[in-house]
């Protein structure tokens, strides 16, 4: 007797979302395999939060579909939600509740809750359990939001800029916690962040959202293999017509030029050397530099 394969954590097909006349997401396709840590990158206003909210059923897609663990995102079952954790960009809590009461309130809903993990996280992030959540700082509120999302040990964790308001210590503690969580192969994490160094530490895959579409989705290492910077040095000033095939941009400054390429091919480098009699230096880029180059910075 064969058992059915568990459904994919996330399958998005042709997802489109418009607000009045403005189209924010324009035919997004994305499949996330179990055990993936997917970093979602995009410029401000590219639609990252909108995509995450459509996937969670907080916004209704204009077209296309999103399935979370096999359920239609707009109509997630209680069982699916019990395996789902979400930290929004703006954490909102119950101002009159003490921190411990807010935690107890959330915990009471779930069939299983790891009180030990929660206590450990509260201690790591120095959350004041007796304070009313209304007087917490933005960073403390964000920490509380993360605790509430992790307490039931979800198999799919979705984080929308979770560390934006955390101090460096809290950020490190969060990344450490995330790495601990990721030791379990069943866990899938999707998080959007502008802090690319954090993504590089934990993400195995990256999806880049640009103008409402996913322009890249794949391994972080593959992305780094594809996007490179070339520094070209010639013996004489380079002509204005000098161009690197497939370059995102080329800057010529006398006898030197720099170019960023999105699909690095060693044959192109060899061709440049032979055709223009130049030295070509190939530089690896970190994720932040890749992001800047891909967005025309």
């Amino acid at each position: 007797m064969t058992t059915a394969a568990p459904p994919q954590p996330l399958t998005v097909q042709g997802l489109t979302k418009s607000f009045d006349a403005k189209t924010v997401l324009n035919g997004v396709d994305l499949v996330v395999e179990p055990g993936t840590v997917l970093g979602l990158l995009g410029a401000n206003g590219s639609g990252k939060t909108t995509l995450l909210k459509c996937v969670l059923g907080l916004l209704r897609p204009t077209d296309g579909s999103a399935l979370v663990m096999g359920d239609n995102a707009w109509d997630l079952s209680a069982h699916t939600k019990a395996s789902l954790g979400y930290v929004p960009q703006e954490v909102s809590s119950y101002p009159w509740m003490r921190v411990r009461q807010a935690i107890d309130y959330t915990a009471a809903f779930y069939p299983s809750w790891n009180h030990g993990l929660v206590a450990d996280l509260c201690e790591r992030w120095r959350l004041p359990l007796e304070e009313r959540t209304g007087v917490l700082s933005v960073g403390q509120l964000q920490s509380l939001g993360i605790v509430l999302a992790l307490g039931h040990e979800p198999s799919l964790l979705i984080l929308d800029e979770p560390v934006a308001s955390l101090d460096p210590l809290a950020r490190r503690a969060f990344l450490r916690t995330l790495l601990d969580i990721l030791e379990s192969e069943d866990r899938t994490v999707i998080f959007s962040t502008h802090i690319t160094s954090d993504l590089e530490r934990v993400a195995s895959q990256v999806a880049i959202l640009r103008e409402g579409q996913i322009t890249y989705h794949g391994g972080l290492d593959q992305l780094k293999d594809q996007v490179k910077r070339l520094r070209i040095t010639a013996k004489a000033p380079l002509p204005p017509a000098f161009a690197v095939p497939g370059a995102l941009r080329t800057r010529i400054d006398g006898a030197t030029a720099t170019a960023a390429v999105s699909a690095f091919d060693p044959a192109v480098v060899d061709n440049l050397r032979h055709t223009w009699d130049v030295d070509v230096d190939v530089t690896d880029l970190n994720l932040e530099e890749i992001f800047v180059e891909l967005h025309g910075g």
Partner: protein, 466 residues
């Protein structure tokens, strides 16, 4: 007018509805004045007094206070050089238009004493401004009592007659009210975060408030709660048992949702509503006498309005938290149904307490008011009241989807007025025609209420809460 001053004035008209509303009101006013000036002066009837003057003053006071608080309860009020002058000037000017210029213009077409008109408008305006500014429960019933005072036979002469004694008293009231308004304008630029009245409208938690405004509203609410030790201990005693709670069924999870609405359990909130109702009814009775049916009807209407407006504003204020609540282990349908059930239970409890108190008041202190009602009529009235409760609840749940405070209040008022009119028609038919006709209207109101409730439920199911 300097550009800065002009901007300060325009800040009152930045909302999309403000300019068309002002235009419509202006046209109506000019038409009315044109007609009034072409006729002989009209002697003022109390309901006209209250409606033409009191209503406008209240709206202006709410509008100006709300806008001024938004401007001054913000770091920019302290950090921006030259901020206070133009903004205080604009607030003072708009208040002057509503409480001085407008009543003076009415005096041209009405046979009313000018000091009386000014005393009334300035007193109502000052009470409403301070009530909103300080967010103190005790001021609201005073404002309502003063607002209704021209309608009450015992106090109406103060606002319509013209004698030397009354003139002195009216001038005294004008002076006190002007001082109160000046004190408010003096207070605004001196607010600091530690001040007890450093509050911005509660609806900043919902709607299109900015991140900072929501953060400020959250802190102010927490500060507001922490002022009362008794209240906090009640809140803690209600929430602490959550540590030992683990829901194991959908119904149990739905019941848990009641904690996310309010800091206090329904018993405490019912007590608060009861106290407010007793204050209002007591004030009415003290002014007009226990046996005044009008006072009791007003109290009955307050019961309906209170329950419905509390429900809708609580749903609206909960919306920012719904983006995470929607992901609790409940299906969307079960979560929405759970919220409806909690709200329904609370509304019934609040209405039962308030309605019971009102009934006790009638039977113990004002039995004469019920002498002319027989058992069948009483049954028809009760049926109408229950139908009104259902329709009022449905209206409030529908309005709770609206995050803008003003839009929500407008929809709620229009809906509840329709319910009250239907209820009034039912009661009138029961009293003057036959209880059977009254029951028929009540049944129709109940059906309409149930249909609206179903629609509200569907709208919540389809709402985008992200």
């Amino acid at each position: 007018m300097t550009p800065r001053t002009q901007q300060a004035f325009n800040a009152y008209l930045t909302q999309r509805w403000a300019r068309p509303a002002l235009l419509a009101v202006g046209v109506a006013y000019l038409l009315g004045m044109g007609i009034g000036l072409s006729q002989s002066p009209v002697s003022i009837h109390p309901p006209l007094f209250v409606g033409l003057l009191g209503g406008v003053v209240l709206v202006v006071a709410v509008w100006v206070t709300g806008t001024a608080k938004w401007q001054f309860v913000h770091p920019r009020a302290r950090m921006t050089p030259g901020f206070s002058g133009p903004h205080l000037g604009a607030a003072a000017a708009w208040l002057a238009v509503g409480t001085i210029v407008y009543p003076l213009s009415l005096s041209l077409v009405l046979t009313a004493s000018v000091p009386a008109l000014l005393a009334y408008s300035l007193a109502v305006g000052a009470l409403q401004v301070w009530g909103m500014h300080a967010n103190r429960m005790l001021i609201s019933p005073l404002t309502i009592a003063l607002f209704m005072a021209p309608n009450v036979p015992q106090t109406a002469p103060f606002w319509t007659d013209n004698t030397p004694t009354l003139f002195t008293a009216q001038c005294g009231l004008i002076a006190v009210s002007l001082l109160a308004l000046a004190a408010w304008l003096w207070r605004l630029p001196r607010l600091t975060e530690e001040s007890g009245d450093y509050l911005i409208p509660a609806h900043a938690q919902s709607g299109k408030a900015s991140r900072m405004e929501k953060s400020e509203a959250r802190r102010n609410m927490a500060r507001h709660f922490s002022r009362s030790g008794f209240f906090l201990s009640v809140s803690d005693r209600w929430h602490d048992p959550l540590a030992r709670h683990q829901a194991s069924s959908t119904a149990q999870r739905q019941r848990l949702l009641r904690y996310g609405f309010s800091a206090a359990p329904i018993a405490m909130r019912s007590l608060g509503v009861l106290l407010m109702l007793l204050l209002i009814t007591g004030t009415n009775a003290a002014v007009s006498g226990n046996d005044s049916p009008l006072g009791l009807v007003i109290s009955g209407i307050m019961v309906l309005f209170l329950g419905a407006s509390l429900t809708s504003s609580r749903m609206a204020m909960r919306q920012p938290r719904m983006q995470t609540e929607l992901l609790l282990p409940l299906s969307r349908a079960d979560w929405v149904t759970g919220l409806f059930r909690v709200c329904a239970r609370d509304t019934v409890a609040l209405t039962a307490v308030a309605g019971g108190a009102l009934a006790a008041w009638i039977f113990l202190l004002a039995p004469a008011a019920t002498d002319t009602i027989n058992a069948r009529q009483a049954l028809a009235f009760t049926a109408a009241a229950l139908a009104a409760l259902v329709a009022g609840f449905a209206t409030s749940m529908q309005a709770g989807l609206i995050t803008s405070g003003i839009k929500r209040a407008t929809v709620l008022m229009l809906g509840l007025y329709a319910v009250i009119v239907a209820c009034g028609v039912s009661a009138g038919l029961s009293f003057w025609a036959s209880p059977v006709y009254g029951l028929a209207v009540a049944a129709a109101l109940l059906v309409a209420g149930l249909l609206l409730l179903r629609r509200a439920h569907r709208n919540w199911l389809n709402a985008e809460l992200g």
